[in-house]
Symmetry: C2
Subunit: 348 residues, 2 copies
């Protein structure tokens, strides 16, 4: 199993990416291809193993593919592919397409990764749009949110495809036999929402009645946190607002807890007494434990790691990429594509 | 100042509504009109003052208006006005319209309250849609979210009107001189979002350039919690998802804290040591401190209290209704209506 890593993407590149790759190679026995500025990557490697990495080189297998450009967060996603052909992102995706690795991990510009994956690695035939689908930690463990921002404007067919892809993902990656699929809405009753939700509801209900999907109906945003649903289907605009609202609330509340524990000598004692519990909660919410966000609908496994990923998070994202490559989800989608696209829009 | 109270609305009606009205009368010196089943209301009053309420009756001023029907959460909002003419909700709004009180408070069916307020009390001339606008507690104190669920489908003009109404509300109710207006979006750059956000952005920017609104551009959902914005403008579908996502996250996190403090004798000691701090945080998040949600755009003040309101929450909602009635917000909207509607859609 060989994972291609965008060494130049993310706030702490290339250090976090290279260190993360080394952690992953040691812990999970994967091989990696580090794509980026060769000199910078080698400097990072020297820091990891000042003795010249000889001890490691014996069993760690990695290649460096040198590139001269880096995609920044300010780059226009639509122009990156044409104008930064020798960037780590474009070269990495091209290596993936051409079979020089089994999956691609990047903490770089999300929009550029999306359009790069769509244009270079391509969508699975019949899939209309790729979707970003993070696992949101919740009361029951977690729920998959599809789409969380790849597609601001969606059709009912896109959402139906998100539902199928999310179902396969949760089934294979989280080992849930019949994932409960919910349509994110402003109420649980049928008929709620805008035309998009009403039309999508009918498609999902039909797939449910045909025995192809375990659709449980409309769900409210509360359920994403409190449980009862495994895959939450929504357009990328709403999904993005919800995701950032959840992140903001968690940051706000955790921030409010700090001064409560720092108020006095007494409360500082309290902090020590519940330290392990609070650390456990922090770990549960911590994105670095979960890795990154899968880009579903692409012909090859692509993982978007958070822009502020550290080495540990990159390590988790590489592990997730390996699991995704082994999972068989892409094969599931390909094998069932006739059931998960609408006949009338068949011409691509 | 006389507040009309829907005694039959909410999960704990009529007890919570009647007790809340008595708390408000004692604490804030308001008069109330209690609308609902006279016998049930009187039973509640007897429980509040078993001696026959004589001591209070001297200075507490309230009327009871008897009604024979109650609106349930299952009632179809569109049919309530026609089919439950003698419900506390319909009678209460009619009393408000006819000047028998200065504001109306209900913890009942939100949809029925919305359509009742629109059909009976009417929208302000020129306002296209009324909006539900709760204050979300955050790092800076709070931000107003307009709309949080009254209108799933919106036009740019609706959103522009929400911005103006929200600005007046925050100015008058939260004493902020030039409220910062943000458009909820999936990124801060101009051009983000769907067509609705892009078109609304232009309207708000034009209002800003004309010096009529302090528009600060697109904001992400994180800002609602972390601050930097006073009024967050969005369609009711997205606003509802965000509101319930925030509520769910807060419930999830507070729920996760409990077992951490209950784990052992040691952690129970810790709980005692930080008790007051945690209570303070709980109060900050507690809707019962904040009262209810204003329905903006109606000719008279209407407050929607949360369905699970207890007496204390009803009391706060009545206080908020009094403040809203005294604020001059409706006068602000009426006086500026020419600036806050689009010329081309002027015919109503």
């Amino acid at each position: 199993m060989k994972i291609i890593v965008d060494a130049m993407g993310g706030d702490f590149a290339p250090k976090a990416a290279v260190e993360g790759a080394f952690l992953a190679m040691r812990e999970f026995g994967v091989e990696t291809v580090l794509v980026g500025d060769k000199r910078e990557i080698e400097t990072c490697i020297k820091q990891i193993d000042p003795a010249g990495n000889k001890a490691d080189k014996g069993h760690l297998l990695y290649d460096i593919v040198h590139t001269t450009q880096a995609v920044t967060m300010e780059d226009d996603p639509a122009r990156v592919i044409r104008e930064k052909k020798d960037s780590s992102l474009v070269v990495g995706l091209t290596l993936l397409r051409d079979g020089f690795g089994d999956a691609f991990v990047s903490a770089g510009n999300t929009g550029a990764l999306l359009s790069g994956a769509t244009l270079i690695t391509k969508r699975i035939r019949g899939i209309r749009r790729a979707a970003l689908s993070p696992v949101i930690p919740n009361k029951e463990g977690g729920a998959l949110l599809v789409d969380c921002g790849a597609n601001a404007e969606c059709t009912p067919e896109y959402l139906m495809q998100f539902a199928f892809m999310g179902s396969y993902y949760v089934n294979r990656m989280l080992n849930i036999e019949k994932p409960r699929i919910g349509l994110l809405n402003n109420g649980t009753e049928a008929g709620k929402g805008t035309q998009l939700q009403r039309d999508t509801y009918e498609l999902l209900q039909a797939a449910h009645e045909a025995g192809k999907l375990n659709f449980i109906g409309n769900v409210e945003a509360r359920s994403v946190l409190l449980g009862g649903v495994d895959v939450v289907v929504t357009d990328g605009f709403t999904g993005n607002v919800l995701l950032k609202g959840i992140e903001g609330t968690a940051m706000f509340l955790m921030g409010e807890l700090k001064p409560i524990f720092k108020r006095s000598a007494k409360t500082k004692v309290a902090a020590l007494l519940v330290r392990s519990g609070l650390m456990g909660l922090k770990a549960k919410l911590d994105v670095s434990e979960h890795g990154g966000t899968a880009l579903l609908g692409i012909t090859k496994p692509v993982i978007k790691a958070h822009g502020n990923s550290d080495a540990k998070t990159m390590r988790s994202a590489i592990r997730q990429a390996r699991e995704l490559a082994q999972s068989g989800i892409i094969e599931d989608i390909t094998a069932n594509i006739d059931a998960i696209k609408l006949k009338q829009t068949d011409g691509e």
